[in-house]
Symmetry: C3
Subunit: 154 residues, 3 copies
């Protein structure tokens, strides 16, 4: 990609670009939902030869994680594990929004709100079994926004 000022290759160079998008997902209350399909479709429209995708869940009681894309039992077990790691029955001071509120904040910290994923030949460099999950930590359904940034060249 090194450009010479006198070389016609400058005309052929593939300048690096950025794209930003905001995704909205409706959750059905506490649990993990696969969200990769619309995000992968968006990435593919830019036809990136090489790139870097960054996702940020713009909330404090829902998170993003990469986990096995096949087994629904795995999701139930993850939920059970997090119910145990951040239980409802601790003497929380921050309880105005209900008994699921503070556990939701803790679970969000534990699982994280952002992901960074290399991109090659138009596709995310995920492992065979990896899927992108949005994890709702509140009991009620919520509208959740995920900001996406793509750095890429075509």
């Amino acid at each position: 990609m090194r450009l010479s000022a006198s070389s016609p290759s400058a005309a052929l160079s593939k300048p690096m670009q950025q794209a930003i998008e905001s995704f909205e997902f409706r959750t059905n209350g506490a649990g993990l939902s696969l969200i990769g399909t619309p995000i992968e479709r968006w990435v593919a429209t830019m036809a990136p030869s090489t790139g870097l995708l960054t996702l940020l869940c713009q909330h404090t009681s829902a998170s993003l994680t990469v986990q096995e894309n096949a087994s629904p039992e795995m999701r139930d077990d993850l939920q059970m594990a997090f119910d145990r790691l951040a239980p409802r029955d601790l003497p929380y001071a921050h309880a105005l929004e209900g008994p699921d509120d503070m556990p939701a904040h803790i679970r969000t910290v534990l699982s994280g709100v952002h992901l960074s994923i290399p991109v090659q030949n138009g596709r995310l460099c995920l492992g065979t079994w990896q899927g992108l999950y949005l994890w709702e930590h509140r009991d009620q359904p919520h509208q959740r926004r995920v900001a996406a940034h793509l750095l890429y060249e075509t």
Copy 2:
């Protein structure tokens, strides 16, 4: 990397740039501190139209997390939750630096040391309630460094 305005295409193009900065924060012992203001100010000086901010806490006993920017009770509850998840009274082998040392390492792993945040129109793409926190996990006050990288175009 700014291009001369003598070429018409150069004048219209927005070359992509990088900036790196090191931030220092003094903590007051174990607890969460909002650190967004100086970081957002630094980002704004680059006047990025689009970009990506990456933060790395350069320590093994302090972390970075995104959480609710409003409630002090939420911070106390997070601290209580992590005191419980990584307690002092386990039979740690690594205890030379005191009973708060190994719990601090575990809490740092659980909450993470890096953040990636899309940037648009000069501002971080955070949700309304999201704030950037530095989380000190040692009992004593410490000087903590956070490395910041900004990829952007103006």
Copy 3:
């Protein structure tokens, strides 16, 4: 960002570049392994003046974390802490692959699969005590792939 071939400033500019690499590591069963050396060597070959390194572990039962690079006791204690946070003896539904399988997924979520690290003068901007670890969460040795993306200018 496309440069005109007639402007001399184009010749002086340092165009931004990307590199992608795939690393393979053989683990010895559950535990933390330092993986920084081959990754730092790869970064150095690009001679980046400024850059951003992103790493993604392409599995759902092994993770990446930044922790103290010196103490083997710290690693044993981390393992003990995670054995306790995600124990084998919960009533998991997803247990076909053995009693270490679901705990491995939970530990991977808790510690994370990706890292983002600013780069300056050819080196990762890590703190003095920070090392890059691949954390195997299964009992048996595994071949693990880590995808690496470097954005940089020379």
